[in-house]
Every structure is written in structure tokens, then in C-alpha cells.
């Protein structure tokens, strides 16, 4: 009798233990399957959300060219269909990479997309669309986090290989890890003349030309007119091959601490403020007045660059209270490049560039939160066009509602 009872007890305990073990095992399999399903759903959501951003222009249609806060978020160019994005809507996205810049003379903080010295795009926070606003308009607030990166497909790298007699500039055109052989390169070479008495405005000369890359995607250009390594210049090159187009730029300046900083002031009025760099970053005395001379170039349909003169294109700016900033109005909503030559003295000066429309200098956009450290990030990509410049749009999406990754 006792033996039978013990047998029952042992068997029951073993049975219960086995049941619990198997419940755990089955549960793990089911949890893994549910998790996979959620990940699948997240990937679908990522693809849908990316299309939602890229295939609708938002409300109102031209919010990129105005100062209003959109009531619907979308980046498509309202004048086109399919995956063509508005260069101005992209310009209004608050950059999540560059450090914000505070300009005391307007009392505003600016979203900063600066691609090295002399290539500025500073949009006031009051006009930039924040990540939280976009998330709210997209209906993902509190449920999904995302990061949208829009990067140019074609990279045009420009370097100076010989500073004078003649100036030699190497242009290298590559795609995503593959050189663009036999690509046509259209360039604009602007040299700054700092001659004239004290306070004179800088003059400039623009030269246009075309060249082709070799099988390695490179081309070497020579400018015999540059006989002095103190000559300031800006070089802008557009490269295109079989529908792919990219932009590159390079400047040489002699005044590297005191220079011009352009700030977008009003997108609707197309107004750009021209500030002295010491108001943004003070390097110490002595500070000098800068005289400037601005112009605007745009890319025409035949891939050549054309200059559009600006009204009130010259002026003087200085650091500190009592010295107001300058301003220029860009005459068009056609994307182009604002070129500002500046002069500190007869031997020191330079040139800075600002894209009018994100694509004209192929600036990249990074918008949203950083996905690093997030539990599970789904990504999807599309090839897009921004004013005929080829870009790749990548969306990284993750859930904010939380679920454990196990199994």
C-alpha cells in the first residue's frame, strides 16, 4: 500500500514537472512566432510610412515654400508625381545631425546642415519642422519612432592637387561604391577679386565649362588664370550619366576666421540674412568689417549653370551691437546656389555657398531620432529625385510600444 502511494506521489511530481517544462517550451515557441509576426508587421509599416512620406506633398501643397506649419506631412514635390521630392520641403526639416546655431542679432536658433567650411544651410527653428510635429502629423506619435535619411547617390569629390600656375582641381565621381565612368561634368568656377581700396566690395569672375570623367570616374581640370595661391575661388560641379546626377563643390579662402554666414530668414519672402561669423563664433580681436557681393546660380535643363543677378547684392557687415546684418532676396523658387564673396582686406577674403533648395548642393538630410540602441529596427529604401538630383531615401522605424526580444 505504502509502495503504491509513493509510486503515485513520484509519478505525479514527475508528471507535473514535465508538464511545466513543456508549457515553457511551447510558450517560448509561440512567443517567438508572435515576435516574428510583430517584426513582419513593423517592416510593412515601415514600407507604408516611407511611401506615405514620399508620395504625398502634404497640406498645404506648397508648405515647403511658406512659413506655415503644415497640417499634413509629405515631402513630394507638388508639381510632379511619383518619387520626386520638393527641395524646399526637405530644407524645412529640422536636422538631427548638425549642432544648432544661435544668432544673437535675431534672437533665433537655427537648424544646422553645414557640409564643411563655407557650405551653410541654416534654417530658423521657427520655420523648421520638428520631429515631434512630423510624428504627430504622420500619426506615429507615441507608437513608432523613426529616422528618415535622404542621401545623394552620386558623390562628387573635389580636391585641389596644385594651387597655382596652373591651379589643378581633381574631380572624382562615384556612386554607392562604384565610379561613374564617362560621366559629363558641368562646372562653374568663380574667382574672387579682392582689389580696390579699403571697404571696396569684392568682385568676381565666373567661368563655365564641361568635361568628362575617365574610366575611374575622375577628371583633372586646369585653370591657368590662377597664378597665385592666395586667389580665393569656389568650384561647383554637376556630374551626370544615364539619369544619375550629383553635385560637388570646393572653396579656397584666405580669411578663415572672419567670414560670411548666411541665415535663411523667411522662406515665403525668399529672404536670406548675411551675418558676420564673429556673431556666431568669436575668435577674438581684432575684428574687421566684411564687405560682400552675392550672386545666385541655377542649373538649367541642359545641365549648364546660369547666373541670376540679385538686387541689393552688395553690403557690409560687422560684429557686435549696432552693426546690423545684411539681407538679400533670392529672386526665384527655382533651386540654385547662393554664392557670397566677401572681402576682409586687400589680401584676405573668400567665398561661401548656400543651397537654395536642398538638392542644388546635394546636401543630405537626417531627420528624426537616432535608431542606435533601439530594440528592433525595420528599414526600407527608395530611390528618389530631388530636382533631378538622385537621392536615396531610407527610413528606419521601430516600435515605441515595447516588446521583449527573446528566443
Amino acid at each position: 500500500m505504502t509502495g503504491s502511494t509513493i509510486d503515485h506521489l513520484v509519478s505525479l511530481m514527475v508528471f507535473l514537472g514535465a508538464i511545466l517544462l513543456f508549457i515553457g517550451l511551447f510558450n517560448q515557441t509561440i512567443q517567438t512566432a508572435i515576435l516574428y509576426q510583430r517584426h513582419r508587421s513593423l517592416a510593412t509599416k515601415c514600407s507604408d510610412l516611407l511611401d506615405n512620406m514620399l508620395l504625398n506633398p502634404g497640406v498645404p501643397l506648397d508648405w515647403g515654400k511658406s512659413n506655415c506649419t503644415p497640417s499634413g506631412f509629405g515631402l513630394q514635390d507638388p508639381e510632379f508625381t511619383q518619387y520626386r521630392l520638393s527641395p524646399f520641403s526637405l530644407m524645412r526639416l529640422m536636422s538631427s545631425t548638425g549642432s544648432p546655431v544661435y544668432y544673437p542679432k535675431t534672437g533665433l536658433t537655427y537648424s544646422n546642415i553645414t557640409m564643411g567650411f563655407g557650405n551653410f544651410l541654416l534654417v530658423p527653428y521657427t520655420e523648421a519642422i520638428s520631429y515631434s510635429t512630423a510624428a504627430r502629423l504622420l500619426g506615429t506619435n507615441g507608437t513608432y519612432g523613426f529616422q528618415l535619411t535622404i542621401t545623394p547617390i552620386v558623390t562628387v569629390s573635389i580636391s585641389e592637387t596644385q594651387p597655382k600656375n596652373p591651379l589643378k582641381i581633381a574631380v572624382k565621381v562615384t556612386g554607392t561604391g562604384f565610379p561613374l565612368a564617362n560621366a559629363v561634368v558641368s562646372y562653374c568656377f568663380l574667382t574672387v577679386s579682392l582689389t580696390g581700396g579699403e571697404g571696396a566690395y569684392p568682385a568676381y569672375t565666373i567661368k563655365y565649362g564641361n568635361a568628362s570623367t575617365d574610366e575611374k570616374g575622375s577628371v583633372l581640370l586646369e585653370f591657368a588664370e590662377v597664378k597665385d595661391d592666395k586667389v580665393c575661388y569656389a568650384f561647383i560641379a554637376y556630374a551626370h550619366l544615364s539619369g544619375l546626377m550629383g553635385v560637388g563643390y570646393h572653396e579656397r579662402v584666405t580669411s578663415v576666421k572672419q567670414y560670411i554666414v548666411p541665415f535663411i530668414d523667411d522662406l515665403a519672402l525668399r529672404r536670406v540674412l548675411i551675418a558676420h561669423s564673429y556673431d556666431v563664433h568669436y575668435f577674438g580681436p581684432p575684428n574687421a568689417e566684411l564687405s560682400y557681393n552675392a550672386t545666385f546660380v541655377l542649373l538649367t535643363e541642359d545641365f549648364t549653370l546660369r547666373e541670376m543677378p540679385l538686387e541689393s547684392s552688395t553690403g557690409k557687415v560687422n560684429y557686435g551691437v549696432g552693426n546690423p546684418y545684411g539681407a538679400v532676396t533670392i529672386p526665384t523658387y527655382n533651386p540654385g546656389i547662393l554664392i557670397i564673396t566677401y572681402r576682409k582686406s586687400a589680401v584676405e577674403g573668400g567665398v561661401v555657398l548656400m543651397p537654395w533648395g536642398m538638392s542644388s548642393m546635394a546636401f543630405p538630410v537626417t531627420f528624426g531620432e537616432d535608431p542606435i540602441g533601439k530594440e528592433w529596427v525595420a528599414t526600407d529604401i527608395r530611390q528618389v529625385l530631388v530636382n533631378n538630383i538622385a537621392y536615396q531615401a531610407k527610413l528606419a522605424l521601430w516600435s515605441l510600444q515595447g516588446y521583449q526580444v527573446i528566443g
Binding site: 509502495g3 509510486d7 503515485h8 513520484v10 509519478s11 505525479l12 514527475v14 508528471f15 514535465a18 508538464i19 513543456f22 517550451l25 511551447f26 515557441t29 517567438t32 512566432a33 516574428y36 517584426h39 513582419r40 513593423l42 517592416a43 514600407s47 511611401d51 498645404p60 501643397l61 506648397d62 507638388p78 508639381e79 508625381t81 511619383q82 518619387y83 547617390i153 552620386v154 562615384t174 556612386g175 554607392t176 561604391g177 562604384f178 565610379p179 561613374l180 565612368a181 564617362n182 550619366l241 544615364s242 539619369g243 544619375l244 546626377m245 528592433w376 525595420a378 528599414t379 526600407d380 529604401i381 527608395r382 530611390q383 528618389v384 529625385l385 533631378n388 538622385a390 536615396q392
Partner: protein
């Protein structure tokens, strides 16, 4: 002991069940769980390569042409390094048993891996002209005559930078393909003729469209139509009477009267009739008289078969509610107009400035029912910046006259006039066969992913 053995037997059975179920419950690979949308990537790659019709051009070149090399370089350059591709171009054949014939293929890998996806893209030859034949307005409903006021004896206002004649020429080019008959009225005498109900060259007078190209002014024929009680109101020294007569004619003949810019019917113009030194619009344009807001009010009275004249003295003679337009500022094309921009290939700027928008109160006052209005611009509060208003008399169900008023500020964009009329009449476009033999080629881009799991 038996119970323990039984339990072990149960454990063996459950273990077997777990193993068997785990064998069948195969979880997908991570790549399948969170896949890259290769189909969309392929489509957008093809669209990118065809941005300036480069892909279309290459697809029609011979297989030995260097353009194929350029295309391969561009394709390799624009796709991520872990993506392999195969691009194939097919001839679209309308004869024979095979619809698609493979012509050329470029690839950067032997195979596309375990999973791949593809998109297709139809390209057209640049040597082909695709013809579009528009349906003629009036073919189904009767009428279909377009009168364009090209009166050499009338001056314009608020058409700065243009003349009535240059606008008339442009309108002719834009709209004549859509109408059965288009007639340029060369002078005010011809205008008087159609107001009398006499056709110019045997065209159908009823259900016609009349475009006034001289902006805020309207040509007035001398003689009968400028006479007292018909065109001139001697009591109030106003040519609003002429506008009233125009309204009645629009109703009688069921015309669509088009005002291309500004305040409709604000001046009357005839350089032969108004020759006095004060016969100018106060801005130095001679040969015209100011009617003021009374012109539009009188026109609408005439259109609605109301009696002429509800004048009152208020620091000058005022007609009805006097000035009725508003200034809503920047206005946007309606969704219907945007749709027809694409349909007809007319692309004016989608936003304009309106300073002479009509109030929506006219819809009820003058029997222009809301349901029959075609909005060209979105309403802004109570203001209608641009619309085609159709008059339907009380107790009636048929249209008796229409007014198309674009209350925009100068200068006029006649593409808006064209777009508005096409939105109102909606003539169909009959396009040529797109997949005609030899004119189209099908490009298929197949993408696969390599590396990873």
C-alpha cells in the same frame, strides 16, 4: 512503479509532440521577416534612371551602342552594394504569338539569390508622336461655339503687359481644338451682331461661350447698344444698363460669359465712341468709361431676369449692394482643377492672389445653385475666387446662362481661363494607342539581395 512508467511514457509522447510540432513550425529567416521592399526599390531605380528620358533613349538603341555601358555603370552606381540586378528590355509586339520579345539584358551576377523581386516599366520611343484628339464641346449637348472678343476698337484694363488681341490669340490656340467653332470677334460691330442673335458665319449662337479678353473692361458697340435705355442709363449717367442688357442676352442665348481677371464689367470700352478728353478710366486709358461695381450687379440682375435698377444715392449713385467683391489673398486651385491640370496638360501656378473674389451670397440672390457651381479655386471663408456659376431659374431645372468669373489680381494667366472652361465642360480626350507596335518597350529590373541571412 507502474504509475511512474506511465508518466515517463506520457513524457515521451509529449516530447515527441513537441519535436514534431517544432519540425513543422519553421520560423522564417530574418530577411523574410523584415524584408527590403525590392519591388519598390526596382521601380524607383527605373524612374530615377529615366529622369531625363535617358533610360527610354537607351532602350531603343542597338545592343552594341555605348549607351548600354553607361546604363550599366549608372545602375551599379545607384544600387546598394548588397543588391544584385538583372535588367531586361523587351520589345512589345502586337503581331505573332509572343507578346514580349527579349532584346537586351544586363546583369551583375550569375544568379539573384534565393529571393528576388522585380518591377516593370514601359518606355516610349522618342521618335513617336502620340496624338490626342479632343472631343468637341457641344457635340453631345449642342452649341459648341466659342466667341473670343478680339475687338480692335476696345481697350483693356488689368491686363497689364498684354493687349486684348494678344490674349485673344493665345486663347484661340489653347481652346479652339476643344470647340466645334471658334470665332474671333474683330470689332464691337460683330459683337453687336451676335447680341442681336445673328450669327457671324452660320455658327450656332445658342449655348455659346463668350470670352472677354479686355480684363475689367467690356467692349460696348456704338449705336443701339450704347443708346439710352439699352446701353446707357441717362438718369444715373451710367453704362450699367449695357451690362444689364448683356446679362439678359447671356440668359436668353444660354451663353457662358467669361471674365478673365479682376472685377467683371467694371468699365465699358469703345475707342470710337468714347473720344472725349475725359473718357478715360482715371488711370489714363482712354476710350473707356467707368461703370464701377454697378456693372456686375446689373449683369447679374439681367442674368436672373430681375428688373433693372435699384439705385440709391449715397455720396454718388449706388446700384444694389454696390461693391460686392472681397480680397481673400492667396488662393489655391481646387482638387477638381488640379485633376484636370493633369488631364488636359495645362499647368498654371496652383496658387494665385485674389483681390476680386465674389461673395457666396450671390448664389442664393441670383439663383446660381451651389450644386451647379464648378469651383476653379477653393473657397476662402465666404469668398469664391474663381468659379463657373450656372443660372437655374426658380422652379426650373435647366441652365439659362452662366458666368465664369476669375476674381484674381492682375495680370491674367489665360491658362486659368482655359483650365476653368475645360473643367466646366469636361471634353474627353481620345488618345492614340500607347502600345502601338515598335513604339514601346518593356523594361524589367529584377533585384536580389546577397549576404546576410
Amino acid at each position: 512503479m507502474m504509475r511512474t512508467i506511465e508518466v515517463f511514457l506520457v513524457i515521451i509522447i509529449i516530447t515527441a509532440a513537441f519535436i514534431i510540432s517544432s519540425f513543422f513550425a519553421v520560423l522564417p529567416q530574418p530577411r523574410q521577416v523584415s524584408p527590403l521592399n525590392l519591388r519598390r526599390l526596382a521601380l524607383t531605380t527605373l524612374q530615377t534612371l529615366d529622369v531625363n528620358y535617358d533610360l527610354s533613349g537607351t532602350a531603343f538603341k542597338s545592343p552594341n551602342d555605348p549607351a548600354w555601358g553607361g546604363l550599366q555603370i549608372a545602375l551599379s552606381a545607384c544600387l546598394p552594394p548588397n543588391i544584385v540586378y538583372n535588367l531586361t528590355v523587351y520589345e512589345v509586339s502586337s503581331s505573332g504569338s509572343q507578346l514580349y520579345l527579349s532584346l537586351q539584358s544586363i546583369s551583375n551576377a550569375q544568379s539573384l539569390g534565393v529571393s528576388s523581386d522585380a518591377s516593370s516599366y514601359l518606355v516610349a520611343s522618342s521618335n513617336v508622336t502620340f496624338s490626342v484628339v479632343p472631343e468637341k464641346i457641344g457635340e453631345r449637348t449642342g452649341g459648341g461655339t466659342l466667341y473670343i472678343l478680339n475687338c480692335s476698337d476696345a481697350n483693356g484694363w488689368w491686363i497689364t503687359g498684354y493687349t486684348g488681341q494678344s490674349l485673344a490669340g493665345d486663347l484661340y490656340k489653347l481652346l479652339s481644338p476643344y470647340f466645334k467653332t471658334t470665332i474671333m470677334l474683330q470689332n464691337t460691330a460683330q459683337l453687336a451682331k451676335i447680341l442681336n442673335g445673328t450669327s457671324i458665319q452660320g455658327e450656332t449662337l445658342r449655348n455659346a461661350t463668350v470670352i472677354n479678353t479686355v480684363g475689367e473692361a467690356v467692349p460696348i458697340p456704338s449705336g443701339y447698344y450704347a443708346s439710352s435705355g439699352v446701353g446707357y442709363d441717362a438718369t444715373h449717367s451710367s453704362y450699367a444698363r449695357y451690362c444689364y442688357t448683356l446679362g439678359t442676352k447671356v440668359r436668353t442665348f444660354n451663353w457662358t460669359w467669361v471674365s478673365i481677371v479682376g472685377y467683371p464689367l467694371y468699365y465699358v470700352s469703345n475707342t470710337g465712341l468714347f473720344t472725349g478728353q475725359n473718357d478715360q478710366n482715371t488711370y489714363g486709358i482712354y476710350g473707356m468709361k467707368c461703370v464701377g461695381p454697378a456693372g456686375l450687379n446689373a449683369f447679374l440682375d439681367g442674368l436672373d431676369n430681375k428688373g433693372y435698377g435699384d439705385w440709391r444715392w449715397d455720396n454718388g449713385w449706388k446700384y444694389d449692394n454696390d461693391w460686392i467683391t472681397g480680397s481673400p489673398g492667396v488662393v489655391y486651385l481646387s482638387s477638381e482643377a488640379l485633376y484636370y491640370c493633369n488631364y488636359y496638360g495645362i499647368y498654371p501656378s496652383p496658387y494665385q492672389t485674389s483681390t476680386r473674389a465674389l461673395p457666396d451670397s450671390i448664389l442664393t440672390t441670383y439663383h446660381l445653385p451651389q450644386s451647379s457651381v464648378t469651383y476653379i479655386f477653393n473657397k476662402v471663408n465666404n469668398w469664391i475666387p474663381g468659379a463657373v456659376y450656372r443660372h437655374i431659374a426658380a422652379g426650373d431645372n435647366k441652365i439659362t446662362g452662366s458666368l465664369f468669373a476669375l476674381g484674381l489680381t492682375r495680370t491674367p494667366d489665360i491658362r486659368l481661363t482655359g483650365l476653368g472652361l475645360l473643367c466646366a465642360f469636361k471634353p474627353r480626350l481620345y488618345r492614340s494607342e500607347y502600345t502601338a507596335s515598335g513604339t514601346s518597350r518593356l523594361v524589367i529590373l529584377q533585384l536580389g539581395q546577397v549576404g546576410g541571412v
